[in-house]
Symmetry: C2
Subunit: 502 residues, 2 copies
C-alpha cells in the first residue's frame, strides 16, 4: 500500500473509495479526470453513486455537477447517471445511460468547445468548482503528481477546486513519467501571454501536475484498466474514405499547396479516423507529425513504422491490445508522444499557427457545407462537439469524413438542410464520403451544392437532393443559398415518421 505515493504526508491520506466519496456533498460541482475513456477515476465515482443511491432511498436529494475532460466510462458517467446523481454534465460524453438521461430531459448538458472549457472555468462563467477527482500514475517525493493516460482538464480542476481527491492507479505505467507536458503559463486577460510553441514537438511545460498538498483530502489506490475499446476491422467504406482523402493530400502536395511532409495531422476519434491513419502507413509521406486530441492505434503503427516522428495529444484512446503495449513500452514512446492539457492540445492559437490538417467525423452535412456533429434529427444529443470546432475553424485544411448513409441506408448523411449546425459553411473546406471527395474551397454556395451532391451523396439519395436543389432555386427568396423552407427538414420529418429518409 502506498508504494506509488512517495510523499509522506500525502501517504497518510490514503483511504477507501467510500470514505473519499463522503467528502463530496450534494450540490457540489465535481471536476473529474478522463478523456475518451483514458485516465478517469475508477472507484470514487462508483462509491459516490452508491452514496447518492442511499441518500435518494432516504428521501434526500443528492445530485452533483460533473465536469470532465471529455467522455469517460461506465464506472464514471454510467454509474452516476444510473444513480440519477448528475444535475449538469459538461463538456462531452459518449455514455449510453448519460445520453438517455440528457435526451429524457432529466440531466442538463452543456456542449462546449473543448478548448473553451478551462478558460470559461477560470473566468468563473460556470460557477465554483468544489471538488476535483483525478486519476494519476503516482505521487512524487515532492508531492507533485505523475499524470496518467490523459491530461484533459486535470490541471484546471486541481487548480480551481477547494478539495482534491486523487486516485493512484497501479495499472497506469510508471514509464509514462516524462511523456506529459503541463503548461503553467496560462493566465486571465489582460495578463495572457503568447504560447511559445512552433512545432508539435516543442515541450513548453513540466512533466508533473502541481498540487497544494493541503487541498488533497483523500487518496484512493486502485488497479484497473482504462476503458479501451477495440477498433472495428477496417471496412470497405472507411478504406474508400481514407483513400479519397489521401489522394487529395497527394494532389495538394503535387500542386504545392501543402508541404511534402504534410502539416501536423489532427483526426477525430473513431474507426474512419483510424482508417485514415492506416492508409498513411502505405502512403508516400515521411516525417509526419500530429497535433491532435487523442492517440489511437493507427498513430502507434505510424510511429513504429517511422512515418510519424512526434504526436501531440491530450489522451490515449487505444484498443486493449495497444494499451497493454503502451503500458509495457511507454519508455520507448516517450520521445515520440507528448500529452498536454486540453486547453493547449486544442488551442486555436496553436492550431492556426501550426497549420493543422484537421479530419473530423460528422452526423450530417447539408448541400451548402454546414455540418451537424451532435444532434440526431435536430433534437437528440448524440455525444457532443468535442474539439471538432477548435480544429475545423482554425485548421489549414478542414476536412469532414462520413459514410454517405447510416442505418442501412435509411439515413442520408447529406441532407437539404442540417437539423442542427455545429460547423458553418465558413469552416468546411472538404467533405469526404466513400462516394468521393468534395473540395469546397473557393466555391460560392450553389457551386458547393453541385459538388457535394455529385461527389458525396449516395446514389440512392442523389436524385432526391437534385430535386430539392432544383426546387429550392425556383421558390427561394434569394439565390445565394436557395432553400425551400417548407421542405428543408422534410427528410428528417420523414425519418421520424417512417423510419427512413427514402
Amino acid at each position: 500500500m502506498g508504494t506509488r505515493i512517495a510523499h509522506a504526508e500525502l501517504r497518510k491520506k490514503v483511504m477507501s473509495a467510500g470514505e473519499a466519496a463522503a467528502k463530496i456533498n450534494p450540490g457540489d460541482n465535481v471536476g473529474m479526470s478522463g478523456f475518451t475513456g483514458a485516465g478517469y477515476p475508477k472507484e470514487v465515482p462508483v462509491a459516490l453513486a452508491q452514496r447518492i443511491r442511499e441518500a435518494t432511498a432516504d428521501g434526500e436529494s443528492f445530485r452533483v455537477g460533473v465536469w470532465t475532460g471529455a467522455s469517460t466510462a461506465p464506472e464514471l458517467d454510467g454509474a452516476l447517471a444510473e444513480a440519477d446523481g448528475v444535475d449538469l454534465r459538461l463538456p462531452y460524453q459518449s455514455d449510453p445511460v448519460t445520453r438517455s438521461k440528457i435526451n429524457a430531459g432529466t440531466m442538463d448538458y452543456i456542449d462546449a468547445h473543448l478548448s473553451h472549457v478551462a478558460p470559461l472555468v477560470w473566468e468563473g462563467f460556470f460557477g465554483k468548482l468544489d471538488v476535483a477527482v483525478i486519476e494519476v500514475t503516482g505521487v512524487t517525493e515532492e508531492g507533485s503528481l505523475i499524470p496518467a493516460s490523459s491530461i484533459g482538464n486535470n490541471k484546471t480542476w486541481i487548480d480551481q477546486a477547494d478539495k482534491v481527491i486523487l486516485e493512484v492507479n497501479e495499472w497506469q505505467s510508471l514509464d509514462l513519467d516524462g511523456m506529459h507536458d503541463i503548461y503553467y503559463g496560462t493566465a486571465l486577460p489582460p495578463r495572457r501571454r503568447p504560447v511559445m510553441m512552433t512545432s508539435p514537438a516543442d515541450r513548453i511545460g513540466e512533466p508533473h501536475l502541481r498540487v497544494d498538498p493541503d487541498k488533497v483530502v483523500a487518496i484512493v489506490e486502485t488497479n484497473s484498466p482504462d476503458r479501451n475499446t477495440a477498433f472495428k476491422p477496417l471496412d470497405a467504406d472507411s478504406k474508400a474514405i481514407a483513400g479519397h482523402l489521401l489522394d487529395f493530400l497527394m494532389h495538394e502536395v503535387k500542386v504545392g499547396r501543402v508541404p511534402k511532409e504534410l502539416l501536423p495531422l489532427q483526426s477525430g476519434v473513431g474507426n474512419i479516423a483510424n482508417a485514415v491513419l492506416a492508409g498513411l502507413l502505405d502512403a508516400p509521406f515521411e516525417n509526419l507529425t500530429s497535433y491532435t486530441e487523442v492517440i489511437q492505434d493507427g498513430m502507434i503503427d505510424l510511429i513504429d513504422a517511422g512515418k510519424v516522428s512526434v504526436a501531440s495529444a491530450t489522451a490515449f484512446s487505444l484498443s486493449p491490445e495497444y494499451a497493454e503495449r503502451m503500458n509495457n513500452e511507454a519508455a520507448k514512446y516517450r520521445k515520440n508522444i507528448i500529452l498536454r492539457a486540453q486547453e493547449i492540445s486544442n488551442h486555436p492559437e496553436l492550431i492556426r499557427r501550426l497549420g493543422v490538417i484537421a479530419t473530423n467525423g460528422l452526423i450530417e452535412a447539408d448541400i451548402y457545407g454546414n455540418v451537424n456533429s451532435t444532434h440526431i434529427m435536430g433534437s437528440r444529443m448524440q455525444n457532443g462537439i468535442g474539439g471538432s470546432g477548435d480544429f475545423a475553424r482554425n485548421a489549414y485544411l478542414s476536412c469532414f469524413v462520413t459514410p454517405s448513409v447510416a442505418k442501412g441506408g435509411a439515413i442520408s448523411a447529406i441532407v437539404p438542410f442540417v437539423s442542427h449546425v455545429d460547423h458553418t459553411e465558413h469552416d468546411t473546406h472538404v467533405i469526404v464520403t466513400e462516394q468521393g471527395l468534395a473540395d469546397l474551397r473557393g466555391l460560392a454556395p450553389r457551386k458547393r451544392a453541385r459538388v457535394i451532391i455529385d461527389k458525396c451523396a449516395h446514389p440512392d439519395y442523389r436524385p432526391m437532393l437534385e430535386e430539392y436543389f432544383e426546387r429550392a432555386q425556383k421558390v427561394a427568396n434569394g439565390m445565394h443559398t436557395p432553400h425551400d423552407l417548407a421542405l428543408a427538414h422534410s427528410w428528417h420529418r420523414k425519418f421520424l415518421a417512417e423510419g427512413t429518409m427514402r
Copy 2:
C-alpha cells in the same frame, strides 16, 4: 501632379484611371483596398466598369473576381456590379447593387471570416491574384506606401498580385502617416511564429506598406472623400440595448469576473454599436481600450473624453463630420489609434489572448442561442459574416445585440429555429434586445430557451415562442434541444407568404 509621390521612378507611372484600368484583363482576380467604406480606390474601378461595359457592348465577355477587405462603396462595388463585371466577390459587401446580383444568382459570393481571407489567399485556396488596386495616402522617397483610412487586406494584395495599381488620394490626410502598424511577420506553416502582442497598444510592425516598385504598373492621382455615412440619431431601442449591456458589464465587474477597466472592446459596425460607445461616455469605466475592426464616431468621442486610451482597428468608419475632423487632427489621434492589417485586427490568437469583449449585431437568433448574421429568411444574403465569427468564437465575452423586432414588428429577431446559422449555440454568451439581456453562460439548451424568450423576445411574439417551445418538448425525439421540425421554419414561411410572422 505627383506631389505625394516622392519616389522618382514611381512618379513616372502616373496615368489616367482609364489607362490604369486597361492593365486589368478579363478573368483577372483583382484585390482592391477598402474596408467599411474607407480607403477604397475611387477611380480605377469606375474606369474598369466603363471598359467592361464597352467590351460587353462589343459582344465580348469581361468579368473579374473582386477581392476586398470588406464593404466598399458605390464607386467600386456599385459600379462594377452595375456593369455586370463581377464573376466572384469576396469576402464581405454591403452594396445594394452587388447584393441584388448575388441574390439574383448572377454573381458568385464567398462569405468568409475576415481573419481567414489573407491566409486562404497565401495558401492558394482561392486561386491566383492577378492585380492589386490599392488606395494610399502617398509614396515615400524610398518607394514605400503611406496607407490611407483602412488597411484591410492591402498588404496581402500587394504581396500576392503580379501587378499593382496605386491610387494616391489627396483627400486622405498626410497626418495619418505613423498611425498604421503593418506586421510583416506572417508566414505559411510550418514557419508561422507567435504574434508577439499582449496589449491593443502594442506596435509590432512598420508604418508603411512595402511594394516592389517593378510590380507597380500604374499610379492614379485622385482627390475624393471616403463613403462616410452619418450615423442615425440614437433611438430609444439602441439606447435601451446599450443600457442593458452596460448594466451587465457593471455587474460583471462587481462580481469580479471582469476587471474594472473592462477588457479590450470590440463592437460591430452600425448604430447599436455606436449607441453602446455613446453609453460608455457616461458609464463609470476608465482606462478603456479597444481591439476591433473599425473606429466609429463613438470611439472618437471616448478618446476625446479620455475614457479610451488606445483603439486598434483595421479601418475608420466615420460620419462625414468626424472624417473631416480626423483628416484635420490625425496627428493628434496617432497616439490613440492604431490601424492594422485585418489578419491581425481579427486574429483568433490575439482576440483570445487579449480577452476581447465582443458585441455584434445579428439578423435573428433562435431560442437556443444560434445566430444568423447573414441570410434573410434562409436564402437571401444581406451583407456577410464579416469579422463577427472571429470575435464571437474567441472572445472573453461574446455578446449579440439586436432590436427584438424588424419591419415595424412584422419580423421577430427571436425565432424558433434560425433560417441560417453563422454562430452556433457554443459561441453565444449573451443576447441583448431592447427588452432585456439573456445571460446564457452555464445554461443547458432548454434553460437558454427560457431566458431568451423571457428576456429578449418582443411581447407580441413571446406567447408564440412559448407555444412553440411547449409543443417542441411534446413532440421532439430528444429533450436536449427540443424542436418540432414541421414548425421550426413556419415563422419564416409565414413571412414569405404573408409579409408578417405574426
